[in-house]
Every structure is written in structure tokens, then in C-alpha cells.
């Protein structure tokens, strides 16, 4: 076994920088980097640590933990399969940005200290912004700037929190943190911003659907699930996460029900699914934490699969609204079938991955006799089928006949979707290998007669509700207001008023300055001073030169005397 000294995440980040060298190099890197990364993640034993002294701190750029390995594995796998999905259609900028983004997410999962974590955290924000950017249209550019703003704000909270925590405790170690003071709460808030927690949940549905077809596939995987990972390590059992998670679950369902854009429906359902994980982390028992980790793993796969299927539709039709789509199963049967498998998995249908992972969270709520939480989770499970499980495939592939007859998705897209669809079913039918790499030993048995019957009743009657309520679900050409109204309309309007005032002020002072300047100039030209040489050569250049000489002189005097 080779000694692991180089952070595997950094391998992806640096490798991504070589992607613009040529299409062949790029395509080779797309396949080689994630495989190498996977190899390195598993080449070192658990609790393997590499330290690096830095400004009086012992950094731990690599610390292998079971949870970290789990998340790093799915992130690398996502980069690989996402790469297959994207490599023929996406731009090199997007692919390089996506790989740097994936690499920094892997970096976070293997970080042993808060400084390393923070650095990778910020690289992630830049990488993901570039992914949105590479869609190269106006809406994407503006959305990416709003997205970046939210994440820089989250990063700021995190940085202040980390600084406060280090001052208080003297430790930079990334481990379970007690919520003792405002510093730890700020760290928690920084993590939660990336998880899509309230009040800043709107950025997911605002930014992700503006990316290219493949861009939103990459985006769906890393940021929110890295946040789940950090919460899992730092704040297991923090009760505040239970109400936050449950809010996210229902926020996602309600907003997705109101939405018309197919990828925005899926973006809202990311918040919904991450809500389940956050609730599980708040519950904090071994089974709940296992459930949260396993659900994150399964979620990345089926959510990517759903967005791949939506991306293929967008790529072939150029349409993104449910009102424009419908009847596509006739000419895109494979995309429809694979998308439906993803939709069943997100709904936790028996024999798909969601069934064996999400149920651990609900089970631990029952075990702790948290009756309200359990009832909320049961209703939410039905709601997932409603807002994503049926709504997405129904409106995109069935519904009315839109008249469009687009060709089937390109082969590389189908291959990527097939790989993830096989994993969705594979994990569902045979969960043992996934259970084996969870943070704690699993004693949970998902396939009991009672569980199967309960889940079938819950989901199928949710399906009945969907078709009974269909007239009320008619899609409209609308968007829904969210917290982002405050920074898109309210601040903007306020900003415009401020800008107008500043502009008026600027005009007054400028004209004033111009007048007094002209008066000064004419007075100066009339005076005898203007005859001197230095003053005659008016250009600013000479002034800069003289200032440079004077400052240089100071420097020399300061250094040598």
C-alpha cells in the first residue's frame, strides 16, 4: 500500500486545471481522476491522519473517518458518472469547474481541522459558481451572482464562527462541537446556509435550474451534501436541527407543488430530501445518523438521475416548463423509464434505495417516542411521492401530448443514467454493502411485512390523491415568492433609491468640483508659478514618478539605516 500524503480532493482540483489543455487530455482526466481519487480514499485505514504545521497550528489536511470515506466515495462516483453524462455536450469550463467543485467537496469530507475545511468550503463556492456561469446566458450569470453572494455570506458566518471557536478553545480540530456560545452557533449557521436551511433556502431553486443540463446534475450533489456531512460530524444530536429539518421537508414539498419549471421542482425537492437528513442528524441516535448518512449517499444517486433525465429532456427539446412539456415517453422511452426509476427511489418505493435508507430516520423517531416527528415524517414521505415521485414524470413524460417528438437522449447520457438507475435498484434490493460502510454498525431490517405494507399504502394512496387532485395541480406560468424577494426586490428597490440619491449627490459635487477646478486652473495659468518646468509638464505621470522616487527613498532609508 502506498503512503497517502496528498489530499485526494486536491488531486481533482489540480487535475481540473489541466482540462483546458485539449479535448483528449480532458476526457482522459474525466475518467482517470475520480478513479484515482476513489483508490486513494480507500488506500488508507480509518483514523489515518496527515498533519501539516501552519502558522502555529497543526493542520490535518487528511483525516480518514468512516463518515468521510462514505461521502468522499459518493462524491468521486458522482464526478465520474456526471463526467460520463456531460463529456460530449458540456463545455470544458463547465467540466473543469465541476471537477474542482467535486474535488473541494471531497477535500471537506477528508478534512481533519476547521481551517482546511474552510479553505475547501470556499473553493467549493467558487467552483459551483463557475459551473452555473458556464451555462453562458444572462439569467445564469445573474443567478450565479446571487448564488455566490449567499455562499460568501455563509462562508463569512463560518469564518467568524471558526475564529471565535479557536479563540475560545484553542482547538482547530473538526469534531463534535458543543453549542456553548455564539461562535459554535455561527459555525452551525454557516453549515446550514449550504444545506439550504431557512430562511435562505431559496438559493437552490434560484440558481441550480439556471445551469446547463449537465451543470445542474453536478450542482445537485455536492454543496448541500457536504453541509450534511459537516453537520453530521460537528452537530449530531443538536435538537434545533429537528424543527429546521422538518421545516425544510415541508417547504420543499409545498414550493415544488406550486412550481412549473421541471428542474426547479427537482431543486425544491433537494431541500426536502436534505430536510430528512437534517432531521436525522438532529435525532442523533446511531440509527438516525446512519440513516442520514445512508440517505445522503442514496439521494445523490437518485437526485442526479432525476436531473439527468430532466437535463436530457431540456437538451433535446429546449423546454423547461411543465406547461410546454408532456407526452415525451413516446419518443424518449429510455429517458422516461430511467427517470421514473429515480422518481421511485426518491419516493422510497420498496426495492429502491430510498426505501432502505430514509426509513432508518423515521424508525429512530419512533424509537425515541417523538410522535409528532414521526407523524410529520410519515406525511412527508407521502408528500415526496406527490411532489417529485409522480409530479415530475407525469408532467414531463405523460400528461397531455405536447406534440413534440424529440429524439432519444444521446448515448453517453443514457449510459450515465443507466449506471445510476442500476445503483438505485441495486442498493434497494441488496443494501448490505452500503450498510457496511455506514458510520455505525447497522442492525436495521428494512424488509419486514409491516414496513412493506405501510409503505405501499402510504405511497399508493398518495398517488391516488395526486390523480384525484389533478385539476387543482394544473400548472401555471408562475414563480413563487420566497425569501429571495428580500434580496432581489426589497434591497434592490432600496438600493435603487440609494443609488439615485448618490447619483444626485455625485452630480452636484462633480459640477461643483469641475467649476472650482476650472477656476483654479485659470488662476494657476495666470500666475507666475505656471512658468516653472515641473508644473508645466502637467501629466500625472511625472507626479507618480516623483512620489515613487520619494517612497523608494524612504524604503531604502528604512531598510539600511
Amino acid at each position: 500500500m502506498t503512503e497517502l500524503l496528498f489530499p485526494p480532493g486536491l488531486l481533482l482540483v489540480i487535475g481540473a486545471l489541466f482540462m483546458p489543455l485539449g479535448i483528449k487530455i480532458r476526457n482522459a482526466l474525466i475518467f482517470a481522476l475520480p478513479v484515482l481519487c476513489l483508490y486513494f480514499i480507500w488506500s488508507a485505514p480509518v483514523n489515518y491522519i496527515v498533519t501539516l504545521p501552519f502558522l502555529g497550528f497543526e493542520l490535518e489536511p487528511i483525516k480518514i473517518t468512516t463518515t468521510g470515506q462514505l461521502f468522499a466515495t459518493i462524491f468521486s462516483l458522482m464526478a465520474l458518472v456526471g463526467g460520463i453524462y456531460a463529456y460530449k455536450q458540456a463545455s470544458t469550463l463547465e467540466l473543469a469547474a465541476a471537477f474542482a467543485y467535486a474535488g473541494s467537496a471531497v477535500g471537506v469530507t477528508l478534512a481533519g481541522d476547521l481551517i482546511t475545511l474552510f479553505i475547501f468550503w470556499e473553493v467549493m463556492a467558487i467552483g459551483s459558481t463557475l459551473v452555473i456561469w458556464s451555462a453562458r446566458h444572462d439569467g445564469a450569470y445573474r443567478a450565479s451572482m446571487r448564488y455566490l453572494m449567499v455562499h460568501l455570506f455563509g462562508g463569512l458566518l463560518l469564518m467568524i464562527g471558526i475564529a471565535g471557536h479557536v479563540v475560545q478553545t484553542g482547538s482547530i480540530s473538526f469534531e463534535p462541537l458543543a453549542l456553548d456560545s455564539i461562535a459554535q452557533y455561527l459555525i452551525l449557521a454557516g453549515f446550514l446556509v449550504n444545506a439550504g436551511a431557512p430562511p435562505l433556502s431559496a438559493w437552490i431553486a434560484d440558481a441550480y435550474p439556471e445551469a446547463s443540463p449537465s451543470g445542474s446534475v453536478f450542482l445537485s450533489a455536492f454543496t448541500t451534501k457536504t453541509a450534511v456531512f459537516t453537520l453530521l460530524i460537528a452537530f449530531p444530536g443538536a435538537w434545533i436541527l429537528i424543527p429546521v429539518g422538518i421545516y425544510m421537508i415541508f417547504y420543499g414539498i409545498i414550493y415544488a407543488l406550486l412550481e412549473n419549471d421541471m428542474r426547479r421542482i427537482l431543486a425544491y425537492s433537494i431541500v426536502n430530501q436534505v430536510g430528512f437528513m437534517v432531521t436525522g442528524i438532529g435525532l442523533g441516535t446511531e440509527m438516525a445518523l446512519n440513516g442520514a448518512a445512508a440517505h445522503a449517499f442514496a439521494h445523490i444517486i437518485y437526485k442526479a438521475l432525476l436531473l439527468m433525465s430532466a437535463g436530457a429532456v431540456l437538451y433535446q427539446t429546449g423546454k423547461r416548463r411543465c406547461t410546454d412539456l408532456g407526452g415525451l415517453f413516446q419518443t424518449m422511452p429510455w429517458t422516461a423509464l430511467l427517470g421514473i426509476i429515480g422518481a421511485l427511489a426518491i419516493s422510497s418505493f420498496p426495492f429502491t434505495s430510498g426505501f432502505v435508507t430514509k426509513s432508518m430516520i423515521a424508525q429512530s423517531a419512533a424509537d425515541q417516542h417523538l410522535i409528532i416527528v414521526w407523524f410529520a415524517l410519515a406525511a412527508a414521505s407521502a408528500g415526496v411521492f406527490l411532489h417529485a415521485g409522480i409530479k415530475f414524470p407525469w408532467f414531463v413524460f405523460f400528461q397531455k401530448d405536447s406534440g413534440m417528438r424529440p429524439p432519444e437522449a444521446p448515448r453517453n447520457m443514457l449510459v450515465a443514467m443507466a449506471v445510476f438507475a442500476i445503483l438505485c435498484v441495486g442498493i434497494g434490493v441488496y443494501p448490505k454493502p452500503l450498510y457496511a460502510i455506514l458510520p455505525f454498525t447497522v442492525s436495521y431490517k428494512p424488509y419486514t411485512a409491516a414496513h412493506l405494507v405501510a409503505q405501499f399504502q402510504l405511497l399508493l394512496f398518495a398517488g391516488l390523491a395526486f390523480f384525484v387532485m389533478l385539476p387543482m395541480m394544473k400548472r401555471t406560468l408562475t414563480i413563487s415568492l420566497d425569501f429571495d424577494w428580500f434580496y432581489r426586490k426589497f434591497l434592490f428597490a432600496g438600493g435603487r433609491i440609494g443609488l439615485n440619491i448618490m447619483e444626485a449627490f455625485n452630480r452636484i459635487t462633480q459640477s461643483g468640483a469641475k467649476q472650482s477646478g476650472q477656476a483654479f486652473l485659470s488662476a494657476f495659468n495666470a500666475s507666475r508659478l505656471s512658468r516653472y518646468h515641473l508644473a508645466a509638464s502637467w501629466p500625472t505621470g511625472s507626479m507618480v514618478l516623483w512620489i515613487g522616487v520619494i517612497l523608494g527613498g524612504y524604503l531604502i532609508i528604512d531598510v539600511y539605516f
Binding site: L460, A462, L477
Partner: protein
């Protein structure tokens, strides 16, 4: 388009058959519930067809709640667009 030109899944008689099949499956899941014992330890979850009616009612509730919330939250698609572009597609703003 006549009925025969349509994809088999879109023909009226087949949609009827699908509905019948669906209702049969729904009934089977409820009947199957009589033979298993739910043990989440709250009591109510073991009552007759609990997950069936609970799933149905909560979903109807969520759809209705979303619909009501939509009255306050829904805006035309170009609500956030710049003033220049809103003036261009003002006609689109009237959709609901």
C-alpha cells in the same frame, strides 16, 4: 387524431383499465394490512388502513395548502426580470 393513431397508453379504454388496475392494487394493500401488525408503539398506526387514509388525507391537505399559499406567493414568471425586459413581454405577465 383518432383513437387508433394514439399511443396505446393514451387511448381512452386503456386509461380506464389502468384506473381499474390501480384501484384493485389499492384495495389489496389495505387488505394486506389486516394480516400484519404495525408496531411503532403509538397505537393509532395499527388501526384499519391507517397508512392508506393518512397518506391520502395528508396529501390532499398539502395540495390544498399549497393552492391557498399560491394565492399569496404566485407571481408572473418575469416578476424578477429587469424593467427593460418586463416592458418587452408585458403580455406574458398576464398569464395565470
Amino acid at each position: 387524431m383518432s383513437e387508433l393513431d394514439k399511443h396505446w397508453l393514451l387511448r381512452k379504454e386503456n386509461i380506464r383499465k389502468l384506473w381499474i388496475g390501480f384501484i384493485v392494487i389499492l384495495a389489496l394493500t389495505v387488505i394486506a394490512g389486516l394480516f400484519v401488525h404495525q408496531h411503532e408503539s403509538f397505537g393509532i398506526e395499527d388501526s384499519f388502513g391507517f397508512f392508506a387514509w393518512y397518506g391520502f388525507i395528508t396529501c390532499v391537505g398539502m395540495v390544498v395548502f399549497a393552492k391557498l399559499l399560491g394565492i399569496f406567493l404566485k407571481r408572473p414568471e418575469n416578476y424578477y426580470d429587469d424593467e427593460s425586459s418586463t416592458s418587452l413581454n408585458k403580455s406574458g405577465a398576464e398569464h395565470d
